[in-house]
Symmetry: C3
Subunit: 346 residues, 3 copies
């Protein structure tokens, strides 16, 4: 049910210590992440090939890990190089290692065929460590729902005034503005403009606009669930819609939705902005976003509970569901293709 040949965000860089392990499950695969002696991050399946004991309970010895159940030792490629009780090492004695990229404070892992892993497919998130942008690191939420209910939520911002009336929300007029939806090969692009409206409370706190604003949300929602958002607002009628962003307050939100299991999900996020740099205000904006995301988690978790009571519930598609329908269509397409490939190979 998950796409495998794609890059998932698995952790913030600083979650993986210089010495020691981080464990995290991605699309039902338990991973152990660790750094070799040069600081390079490695991701192994967190199961010894012998009897599935977690390597994360093992011992790092230089660039190797020793399983602490029966002493098998693996090098940084995952090949077993020592079995205490025997001299011959069978060729199958290795643990799976996953392609990794550490970039702009995030760690990306490739869960499919290693040969197909192409780092150029990773969306640009350079705002996370660009000195011209300010954000707080470490944004993370854990959900006990399937990831598609979360991507649904993010693919339709008409929920803003209802779920987030006092945080992200603003007036209900915002929900009435139609969004433009364009599907490309591996992404859905959503463009929404709201002209001549009141600025939302959380921005107004940091940058006092004197009057109405033109507000935009332009984002790419890339497979498997990466949201790169150009959002912001400028004083109304100063040409924002034509590309002028004078006196604007801009964000480049980066959000990554990573399935943990069929019914649980990791959610990584940060909200770089270009108009507030003092740490305290940046922390306040982050805090407000965290509160808003908790509001999402509450309604989505409740929605999930109601769906679990009736797995046959049929949703009623509305015009606002266009983007999420397109995105679900893309997910289904790639899952089906990978399944087909696999059955061709077998």
């Amino acid at each position: 049910m998950f796409i495998k040949n794609c890059w998932y965000v698995v952790a913030w860089s600083d979650e993986v210590p210089d010495h020691g392990f981080l464990t995290r499950t991605v699309i039902n695969m338990p991973l152990v992440l660790w750094r070799d002696s040069e600081g390079r991050i490695i991701a192994f399946e967190d199961r010894c090939c012998h009897r599935a004991a977690p390597l994360s309970m093992g011992r790092q010895e230089g660039d190797c890990i020793t399983c602490m159940y029966h002493g098998l030792k693996f090098d940084s490629t995952g090949s077993c190089i020592e079995i205490p009780s025997q001299t011959r090492i069978p060729p199958q004695a290795k643990v799976r290692s996953f392609p990794l990229v550490e970039q702009h404070k995030w760690i990306w892992v490739w869960m499919g065929d290693a040969e197909k892993a192409d780092p150029s497919m990773i969306p640009d998130t350079h705002w996370l460590d660009d000195p011209n942008w300010a954000s707080q690191d470490g944004g993370y939420i854990h959900y006990d729902v399937n990831y598609l209910l979360i991507t649904d939520n993010l693919l339709d911002f008409s929920h803003l005034p209802y779920v987030h009336p006092t945080t992200l929300g603003g007036s209900e007029d915002y929900a009435k503005k139609p969004a433009k939806v364009e599907r490309s090969d591996r992404a859905v692009k959503i463009t929404r403009w709201a002209l001549d409206i009141d600025p939302p409370p959380f921005v107004q706190k940091a940058k006092s606009f004197e009057g109405k604003v033109d507000r935009w949300n332009i984002y790419d929602f890339v497979l498997p669930g990466i949201l790169i958002m150009d959002s912001g607002m400028a004083p109304a009628n100063t040409g924002a819609t034509e590309g002028t962003r004078k006196d604007a307050a801009q964000f480049r939100g980066c959000q990554a939705i990573t399935p943990e299991t069929d019914n649980s999900t990791h959610y990584f996020y940060a909200h770089p902005n270009d108009f507030v740099f003092d740490k305290k205000t940046v922390a306040e904006i982050h805090k407000m976003i965290a509160v808003a995301f908790e509001e999402d988690r509450e309604i989505i978790t409740a929605q999930n509970r109601q769906l679990e009571l009736d797995p046959d519930f049929t949703m009623l598609p509305l015009a606002i569901d266009s983007a999420l329908s397109q995105f679900r269509w893309l997910v289904d397409k790639y899952v089906a293709e990978e399944r087909k490939e696999k059955s061709n190979v077998a």
Copy 2:
């Protein structure tokens, strides 16, 4: 597995506030109960027709509810009258509304075809608010077992001296008295007399009988699981069996067993009596009943645990099981009929 075309008790009247929501699940259907501006109670499926978000997390606006996920607004019949993001409202945009009757402090809901909902099928429980009878409101227990294990228990009172030796129980002779069982179209009637016995402790506390009593339990156990019980006792040999109830202590117990899910159940109850009216003693009787019902819950929950370890366990039918066998037969019959009707329609 549940009968749908019948009235279930869903709540005590005072559980539904003047403004705000009560949520309760009945036969796996999540319901939201609320009052319109005239105080009439309404029961909706607690799932927005759009994406299943619970309406109980929404906002009451006069006689309407607005879903707080994407702003859909429903009138008191369940029809959607507003979708913020579009002008056209599709005809399927409505939430299911369930027929309701609020009567004698209980709220009854009809879970099947609305056209068949006939209020005259609701059993009489007027003792719950009749000034000639006294009881304490709000009796409620939650069970983590299928409802039939509870109806089984209530359909055979020979358990009284064993499960309730110090509360409802009395002597073990009581278990030996045979009960008369009569099945009608939608109910089982049980009549049990125990003559010339000691009064049970909980009655003796409130009304001191000087000698032995004649005790009766005459009750209708009506589909889907409503127990209306005429019980009590009078001094022995004063003609109670022929209808004279001089110096008697009488109860009209009202109990409603409402399945929540396949494996959990709501239990509403009250015990109106005609011989004690001071609040303190009425509360004491209620408390004692609550303690006794907790004794039932303990043995039934334990029984359920043992059955879960072996779903193939075969029960051994005894003579005392006549009433509960008849009742289970009725349940099976109506469930089968409804299934047949449904497949004929489809």
Copy 3:
């Protein structure tokens, strides 16, 4: 999935009181254990034949148990001898009683055909109450994993230096010594010698060897999961390998792995020794063993979690797995035979 025609350890003798009940589930069967008026232990299925209420919530009356749901009374053979509400007692009115042997402080129960129960099949554990050996009673651990992951662990001691480096462990050289494995009809025998090595910390504490030791572990692992271990050490090169055990420190570990359910297990154990008798040191040895067994529980429980994430995980067999493969082969063989017998009968 479990062998039925075999003896399982169900409890320590002193867990069953003189009056009252012990409940314990063995291979998914809930049991109630109690003593008759002469102190003999009886094991019944802990479900009344009537409606499955647990007899352990009942009342012992001399050599009988009365179910406290509806008053059925059973004699010490499990036959129903009284039904309060009726005079005729149907012949099927009985609860299943299981063959039992109480011996050397352990209670053994036979879960299969009573006719086949042969006490001579019970392994010798007389060290548990032999005055020439000292041990602390009551060793017990509860596991939330299938029992085979535990028997796997006990059938390969090469894990000692990795899982128990500071308790049972000793040097990693120990893991490198090959074990001799012999399969018999209902058991696997494992013999492992480690010559001229350092004594492990927990023995050294109690009996200070001056130099290196020759260490042995010779154990029978008997179906369904009984480990009887002759282990110990003697000063190196004093003839231990030829049978001389001069100045040795010897143990006769007795361990019993009893499945509770498909995914949980009882573990009974004691470690009689012949070289330390003062209570304090015996308690210290027991404590150290308990700590070590907790180390096993930790890694096995983690292993189980990783396997649950991928039920199709294929283990990689190594030379050290010979004994556990043989044992699993035996289990499979007897389970298959019993299944075949059953289908022949049916």
